[in-house]
Symmetry: C2
Subunit: 87 residues, 2 copies
């Protein structure tokens, strides 16, 4: 595999990993009131555009990372709605 | 300008914008305890790898978006440290 593609896949894995401690923290404390709804919502929209960019560029790491990232943003939105809906 | 590059720049602008409501929220409430330190810290590391990927691919939108994103993660870390250092 192309080294640059591999670097992109590693980069995508790391940025995707970044959401995990936030999920764990939210799940443990059952509170996400300090997180703005707009952050994961706007990120999901932006990542959808990145996904389209990745498809047009035929860049696998960008496609994979942003597809996963959109899922993470949606999970965070659902957790926020479950734990701290009115803040 | 290439349409795909323009799409990438718009995508980068939107994902960058995603941080702004979080900054505003944190600044208003002076609390960021529900945010895990690890999220912005790991994201900053991943974005540094994305930045390197963008440089190697000579992809301007990836370079610009991730350079700005790294800055946003660092601002979030500093705000967390200021407002909710022990949580």
């Amino acid at each position: 595999m192309d080294t640059v593609v591999l670097l992109g896949l590693i980069a995508g894995a790391v940025t995707s990993l970044g959401f995990i401690p936030q999920f764990i923290r939210g799940y443990r404390t059952k509170e996400l009131k300090d997180i703005s709804y707009f952050m994961p919502a706007i990120l999901a929209v932006g990542m959808t555009l990145w996904l389209l960019y990745g498809v047009l560029k035929e860049a696998l790491p960008i496609i994979v990372a942003n597809a996963f990232g959109i899922g993470c943003c949606l999970v965070l939105l659902v957790m926020k709605k479950m734990y701290s809906p009115r803040s």
